[in-house]
């Protein structure tokens, strides 16, 4: 179990900053998911941690030891790159043993560790196969086993699920989670998918513009994203950027792409976006519209049955052609006939609006 402290990391590619004064602390034994869109520098960060790329400035400390200038050979990192790269000319057994042999361990130790890690990754029946003979999911397990065999201080995973088909994805994610917990290996898991982060993360670091923008437990970020972009990266429903803000006698008026929202208080700080939870909406069936509530008019685009009692309705916003609102409600609450292309009016209490 090690902790990792990254300070002031910068890296340029053709004069453009990929990492820009990045700071990040990784706790002992945690599984940290680095979440960001492609090109945000998360893979670069991973390669710098692995020692494959040297940063221009900044430092990396492993348990207070400066490893910034260490070559990969001396770092004890388990690196699983995005493409499933197994050594094509070696069978599974030799792939897994590669790191152990490079470390010049005794044959007994190598065999023992091989047995342990292949059983851990459930690939002990594949040992004599060649990479071209096994499936994508199996390849990823072998790659993981190869990285885990050397019992790394840190495990670095780059989009490990991206090339696996949907059915195998969850199983593999759970395996990763399980071995990470069993071995208590400090793990950095890079992905662009918030779903994967939801599935396995201890903590999530959201990255863009070459920096870690927000770090914390997933639910915390979900509830309190620092800004609109983070909310969007987190894949949260019903977030909209603020186009324009002004104050009037009632309070602040926020202009969004789906319409205006009148708040009953004056905001003191600038905000970048708002979020309204799908469950905060209610459907107004009466003719009377409440002054105090925020009103949206729309047309039902589709109705998705969530379970026996609840449905999610996707509503096209009137006057905002490409925008839609997701609404969660119980079947009982819908007093109108839930049919596509019927018009309806949504209302929401201003206090339910999350500002960030």
């Amino acid at each position: 179990m090690v902790k990792v402290n990254i300070k002031g990391l910068s890296m340029r590619y053709e004069k453009k900053y990929i990492l820009d004064d990045l700071n990040l602390d990784i706790h002992q034994g945690e599984l940290l998911v680095i979440l960001g869109e492609s090109g945000c520098g998360k893979t670069t960060l991973l390669k710098i941690l692995a020692g494959i790329i040297e940063p221009e400035t900044g430092s990396i400390h492993l348990d207070n030891q400066d490893i910034t200038n260490y070559p990969p050979q001396k770092r004890k990192v388990g690196y699983v790159p995005q493409a499933q790269v197994l050594f094509p000319h070696m069978d599974v057994e030799h792939n897994v043993k590669f790191g152990l042999e490079a470390r010049k361990l005794s044959t007994d130790v190598i065999e023992e560790k091989l047995k342990w890690v292949t059983e851990l990754m459930q690939i002990d029946d594949l040992l004599s196969r060649y990479p071209r003979e096994i499936s994508g999911g199996q390849k990823q397990r072998v790659a993981l086993a190869r990285a885990m065999a050397i019992e790394p201080d840190i495990l670095l995973l780059d989009e490990p699920l991206s090339s696996i088909d949907a059915s195998g994805r969850e199983a593999l994610a759970l395996t990763i989670r399980r071995i990470q917990k069993e071995t208590e290996t400090t793990t950095v898991y890079v992905t662009h998918s918030s779903d994967e982060a939801r599935l396995i993360s201890d903590r999530v670091a959201v990255m863009y513009d070459g920096k870690v923008q927000q770090i914390g437990r997933l639910l915390d970020i979900d509830h309190n994203p620092k800004n609109y972009l983070i909310a969007k990266i987190m894949g949260t429903s019903n977030v909209w950027p603020v186009l324009y803000m002004s104050d009037n006698d009632k309070g602040s008026l926020i202009t969004l792409s789906i319409g205006d929202i009148q708040l009953h208080e004056k905001l003191k700080t600038k905000i970048s976006g708002i979020r309204i939870k799908p469950s905060s909406f209610s459907i107004n069936t009466s003719e009377r519209l409440s002054e105090k509530k925020i009103i949206f008019h729309g047309i039902i685009k589709s109705i998705i049955e969530q379970d026996e009692d609840n449905v999610r309705i996707v509503v096209d916003v009137k006057n905002a052609p490409s925008e839609y609102i997701k609404v969660d409600c119980s079947k009982e609450d819908i007093k109108i006939e839930p049919k596509t292309n019927t018009e309806l009016t949504l209302e929401v209490d201003p206090s339910e609006v999350v500002l960030f």
């Binding site: 890296m11 340029r12 590619y13 053709e14 390669k47 692995a50 020692g51 494959i52 790329i53 040297e54 030891q65 400066d66 200038n69 260490y70 070559p71 990969p72 050979q73 001396k74 770092r75 004890k76 990192v77 388990g78 690196y79 699983v80 790159p81 995005q82 493409a83 790269v85 050594f87 094509p88 000319h89 590669f98 790191g99 490079a102 470390r103 790659a143 190869r146 990285a147 050397i150």
Partner: protein
């Protein structure tokens, strides 16, 4: 304390690494400089210097000389014509071979490839045996028509040269275009068919753009080969028609005029460079468009029952055409082998040529002992191969340093430097190369005493681009991430090279080695130029004796060359990396 110590060790290791790479670069550069670039500069020196009279006037005389002008026109004209005819026959042949499925198709394709990989001198022998004045075709014609004039006259005629070139190069077109036809995206064809496009429109809008790059690349390749043709033109058409190569050769070796020879060599070099650069551009394009595609051409099987007459006739036509093309390209090679067993004189045995060859005595038509020629050929090829591989591996080793540069996200300067350095040897014809080597070294005692060294050097310079290409092709298939992973797993750089890179490129190395071996085996131009009297290889022996009364001896030698060359290319083929030579 410990940390800083470690850091120092790493820095020292990195320094040693940089030092060895620098050493490798210096070695490579000094080799290329002394045996390629300085000779090239020497050509320019001679080309633009004159001891007698005004240089401008002399150069104008060279340019306006009737023989030079006509030869320049001929060089272009015959190359264009040969390429064009190769296309006319090769394109449909390639299409049929891609489209139709039949027994022995693979064999046919391989047979069609054979002339292309054979040394020009062997091809010339086959051509003479088949189309020469007492060749098979003319003998049959004469006995059929009872006339005394031959059907085809190949000596001193433009038809002879073009026929020989077409026969030699048609397989280039066929080989390159078969995958092109197979890779056409037929979904697009079907979609456009449903959209009501007619056949012509489909061809123009969909098929043509997809095969165009391949066709142009293949045509340029044929153009380069025929443009640089030497042995065939020297034997068949001189003095009526001469290529620039023949002119250069003659103005150094026959009636020495170094200014003229060098100036012609410069012209040749410039023209070749232009063609090669265009070729590389199109080749890259065609490779890109072929990348990741699998054959999706629906093949057709010949069927003759229960079909309409027109289909049967069409099928018969296709079969007839393919047989004709197969005969045209393969018959002369077969003829060499068969003819080597037919006695020239009553009383000679069928094995006379081979007996003489292995009898270990001097043969007067060769003025040498044929086993010595075979020995010379083999050890020259062996040394050339070793040196070529060594140089190629050094090049690869230098390029390997780019993985250090990637650490800093910079493209390696060494890589681009080297890729430029090896383009020029590609664009240098063997005669131009030999001219440079000759002008540079002719006054050294080494040249007088051990000309074979320069033969080897020219063979090496001719083969290095091919060998490097095939090794690099293998090297570039290695995913960088593999090396990254290996290093995180604790493997040292040498271990990575030994355990990962080497096993993954060894096929490429073998292919590169076989290539340079085969090239050296059959190389004629530079060898003949540099070492006519002093040092003979099989190719030169064949050339010297091919038109003597006893054809069996040269043809036995040619058959041996065929055998060894085919063996080499069969091995390359088995390794699955047949790359066309440039």
């Amino acid at each position: 304390m410990l940390v800083s110590q470690r850091k120092k060790t790493f820095e020292r290791k990195a320094l040693v690494n940089k030092f060895t790479i620098a050493l490798a670069i210096i070695f490579l550069l000094s080799f290329l400089a002394s045996f390629f670039y300085l000779p090239l500069i020497r050509i320019f020196q001679y080309g633009f210097s004159s001891e007698t009279g005004n240089l401008a006037i002399i150069l104008r005389e060279i340019i306006t000389d009737k023989v030079n002008l006509y030869s320049l026109a001929f060089t272009f004209g015959q190359a264009l014509a040969s390429t064009f005819i190769c296309l006319i026959i090769g394109l449909p042949a390639g299409y049929f071979l891609a489209k139709y499925e039949f027994k022995g198709k693979k064999l046919l394709i391989n047979l069609l490839t054979i002339p292309f990989v054979l040394p020009p001198i062997v091809v010339l022998s086959g051509f003479l045996v088949t189309y020469g004045n007492s060749g098979w075709i003319n003998v049959i014609w004469k006995s059929l028509t009872n006339s005394s004039s031959p059907l085809i006259s190949i000596f001193g005629t433009i038809e002879g040269v073009i026929l020989a070139h077409v026969f030699y190069n048609i397989s280039v077109i066929i080989r390159i275009t078969i995958p092109a036809w197979q890779n056409i995206d037929y979904d697009q064809v079907e979609v456009s068919r449903t959209l009501g496009a007619n056949k012509r429109r489909i061809f123009r809008k969909i098929i043509r753009p997809q095969i165009m790059n391949h066709v142009i690349a293949a045509s340029l390749l044929v153009f380069v080969y025929t443009f640089n043709s030497f042995a065939i033109v020297l034997k068949l058409a001189n003095p009526y028609y001469q290529t620039i190569e023949v002119l250069i050769y003659k103005s150094i070796r026959v009636s020495p005029d170094f200014t003229e020879a060098s100036f012609l060599a410069i012209i040749q070099l410039i023209l070749n460079s232009i063609i090669i650069i265009i070729y590389i551009l199109f080749d890259r394009k065609s490779r890109q468009s072929a990348e990741g595609k699998e054959s999706n051409l629906k093949t057709t099987i010949f069927q003759f029952s229960k079909q309409k007459w027109n289909i049967i006739i069409r099928n018969l036509g296709v079969i007839f055409f393919l047989i004709l093309v197969g005969l045209f390209t393969f018959l002369p090679i077969l003829a060499v082998i068969i003819r080597s067993f037919i006695p020239d004189k009553v009383g000679n045995s069928a094995f006379y040529g081979y007996q003489e060859f292995f009898s270990n005595k001097e043969i007067s038509v060769l003025n040498a002992n044929p086993l010595t020629l075979l020995g010379n050929t083999l050890w020259i090829a062996a040394i050339s191969t070793v040196v070529t591989l060594l140089l190629s591996l050094i090049i690869v080793f230098i390029l390997r340093s780019r993985y250090q540069s990637i650490k800093r996200y910079k493209t390696s300067k060494a890589e681009s430097l080297i890729s430029y350095l090896i383009i020029l040897p590609m664009a240098t014809s063997s005669i131009t190369l030999a001219t440079g080597v000759y002008l540079q070294f002719r006054n050294t005692s080494l040249f007088d005493n051990a000309v074979w060294i320069f033969v080897i050097i020219s063979h090496v310079i001719i083969s290095v681009p091919f060998a490097t290409r095939s090794i690099l092709a293998a090297y570039n298939r290695i995913d960088v991430e593999l090396l990254n992973v290996a290093s995180t797993l604790g493997a040292s750089r040498t271990r990575i090279f030994r355990k990962i890179e080497l096993p993954m490129i060894y096929k490429g190395i073998i292919v590169g080695g076989l290539f340079s071996f085969a090239i050296s085996l059959g190389e004629f131009g530079a060898t003949y130029f540099l070492a006519r009297e002093d040092f003979k290889t099989l190719s030169i022996g064949i050339y010297d004796s091919i038109s003597t009364q006893t054809m069996q001896i040269p043809l036995a030698m040619a058959s041996l060359l065929i055998f060894v060359t085919i063996l080499c290319f069969y091995a390359i083929h088995r390794l699955g990396e047949i790359e066309l030579k440039v």
